[in-house]
């Protein structure tokens, strides 16, 4: 494999990491509060407002129903508005983020809903405000599940990022299509696949390691 190709692979890997990192960060930034709100705005919950909850739920579901490749193309006007251009790696971050937000929101919602209602009641009996309950009870208690949810979201984003070549986004997926497929270079395709596997493996292991560190629910040996 030529030095030029190696250079391309390194660059593509960095581009993929860039897209996934930024969209993952933005997705968590918006998805986390949205997920928390989806969980606590349900009927009978902490900030019960069933109508807003229903509407938000519909928007989230609608976004999640659209196949990613269609989403990328469908929101080109929005992408242009936000990123200033609709093509390129940075522009690809817009659809990736828009796909990540509802996905992360649902995962966070489930994690929050798993928190034992008795804990919320205990916090209420201490005179906690809803915001204190979210900050001091719901999020810390749901943290192991939230961490695993974010891991899953990042892995999915790595997969999605392979499709942004359709709007001129670069990265490993784009490289694999343009060189490995269109230029009949199976060795490039193989390397791309291997790098993707390694990336996913790393993200997954790191996520599980962090989740285990923050999970105090099961007794474990305290060998520090």
């Amino acid at each position: 494999m030529s030095a030029n190709l190696i250079h391309l692979l390194v660059e593509a890997t960095l581009q993929t990491l860039y897209m996934v990192a930024i969209s993952g960060l933005l997705g968590a930034l918006f998805g986390l509060p949205l997920g928390v709100y989806l969980a606590i705005s349900q009927r009978g919950e902490l900030l019960s407002s069933p109508v807003i909850n229903k509407v938000l739920g519909l928007v989230v579901n609608a976004t999640r129903s659209v196949p990613f490749i269609i989403l990328v193309v469908a929101i080109i006007p929005l992408t242009r508005m936000i990123a200033g251009t609709s093509i390129g790696t940075t522009a690809a971050i817009v659809p990736l983020t828009i796909a990540a937000v509802p996905f992360i929101a649902r995962l966070v919602e489930n994690a929050i809903r798993e928190v034992d209602g008795g804990l919320i009641e205990a916090a209420r009996s201490m005179g906690a405000t809803p915001f204190q309950i979210i900050r001091k009870v719901l999020i810390p208690e749901a943290l192991p599940s939230i961490t695993l949810g974010l891991t899953l979201a990042l892995v999915s984003l790595i997969g999605y990022s392979a499709m942004v070549g359709a709007v001129g986004g670069e990265g490993l997926g784009d490289l694999g299509i343009r060189y490995g497929y269109q230029r009949f270079m199976p060795d490039v395709m193989l390397v791309v696949v291997v790098i993707l596997i390694v990336l996913v493996q790393l993200v997954q292991s790191l996520g599980e390691w962090i989740a285990a560190r923050v999970d105090k629910r099961a007794p474990k040996s305290r060998g520090n």
Binding site: D116, A122, A123, S125, M126, G127, K136, P140, K216, P219
Partner: protein, 369 residues
């Protein structure tokens, strides 16, 4: 029905006035609570409750599951709002308080739970610090206060452990320390020992008793176990079908139960029941002309509990008494005896009058031939 529980300031309930927070009174006035069911109907959980818990008293409310005791307790700190009537805690109307006022009231009312409700993500110390953080306590002062509370409940060695590493009894100790963190005036206990084994139950009850005595705070506990009430409550109320059917000092309710529900709870705890071979032959009315024995329950309360009354009865009236079952136990440090005896039906009237003249209570259970 109106019931007033006035605590006797005996050794069990007298608060030591050492500058610690004094307990607050809890007053239920015509309190009722009903819930709407999803099907559109309503279910009444609590009805016409009038109950006064005096400051510093340790009061137990006993009832079967579904009797409304949990709802009753949860109305004290506003987790449920009454549908009718009002609940006054330290003079504040809990049901009418807005969100802000309710939060202030709740800092004066600690609560412990059957399933402890500790945060798995926080250590023992972290869990106890939580109510202080919520109350906006000065961060620098929290560690000292937490250490003091951990010491009080005897968990100094476990301060940095997580709840998952603790036993049930230890978890409840954390719950108690947490409930005491903000120096409340009232402690609510929601079946706090129901998930614990009998031995652990005793140590947790002893801790509650010590806290009540040392801090003088009012304790209102709900339970379905009469033994819990007997062991620590100076006052008690029996709830059945959402209504308080009997209330008063624990000793009085134990020695003179009036309501059938109370009696059925009592038979479980005193263990004084008729042997089966007698119970099966028991008739409600005497049969004329036959040689019969009358079966009576004799209750020895107060100073007479240790007098040899049956021996005196035989000596003075020459009546022979068969003892069928019996026990002497202690309620609030006062002896309380409960005997089931049978004696010649023809002379039973005289025997009962003799016993009652000497301050004992008798109850005719039936007749056997």
């Amino acid at each position: 029905m109106s019931t007033n529980i006035t605590p006797k300031r005996d050794a069990q309930t007298r608060p030591e006035r050492d500058g610690s927070p004094q307990g607050a009174s809890i007053v239920f006035e015509d309190v009722g609570k009903s819930f709407h069911t999803p099907a559109g109907g309503t279910v009444t959980a609590v009805e016409d409750v009038n109950l006064t818990v005096e400051p510093g008293a340790m009061t137990g409310v006993i009832g079967r599951s579904g009797a409304g005791k949990s709802t009753l307790l949860r109305m004290v700190n506003g987790l449920e709002r009454p549908t009718t009537g009002r609940i006054m805690v330290a003079g504040h109307d809990v049901g009418a308080a807005d969100a802000g006022a309710l939060r202030m009231i709740r800092r004066d009312v600690g609560m412990i739970f059957q399933h402890f409700n500790l945060l798995a993500s926080r250590t023992v110390a972290g869990n106890i610090a939580l109510p202080l953080e919520i109350a906006g306590e000065d961060r620098a002062k929290i560690p000292a206060r937490v250490a003091e509370l951990i010491e009080r409940v005897g968990l100094s060695a476990q301060a940095n452990r997580y709840p998952a590493e603790l036993s049930g009894g230890q978890k409840q100790r954390v719950g108690i320390a947490r409930a005491l963190a903000t120096s409340p005036k009232v402690l609510l206990s929601d079946e706090a020992t129901s998930a614990l084994d009998p031995e652990t139950t005793q140590t947790v009850l002893a801790l509650l008793r010590d806290i009540n005595r040392d801090l003088g705070l009012t304790v209102l506990l709900i339970t379905h176990e009469m033994a819990v009430v007997r062991d620590i409550a100076s006052h008690m109320a029996v709830i059945d079908g959402g209504r308080i059917v009997e209330a008063g000092p624990t000793y009085d309710v134990f020695t003179q139960p009036r309501h059938p529900t109370t009696r059925s709870f009592l038979s479980g705890v005193t263990g004084v029941t008729l042997p089966a071979f007698i119970a099966g032959r028991l008739r409600d009315t005497p049969t004329r002309g036959t040689k019969e024995e009358e079966v009576i329950r004799v209750t020895f309360a107060g100073t007479h509990a240790t007098d040899p009354m049956l021996a005196l009865l035989s000596r003075d009236l020459g009546i022979e008494v068969n003892i069928l079952a019996g026990a002497v136990e202690e309620i609030g440090a006062r002896p309380f005896g409960n005997l089931l005896v049978s004696l010649d039906a023809d002379r039973a009237q005289a025997a009962r009058e003799y016993l009652e003249r000497h301050g004992l209570l008798t109850e005719v259970l039936g007749y056997v031939s």
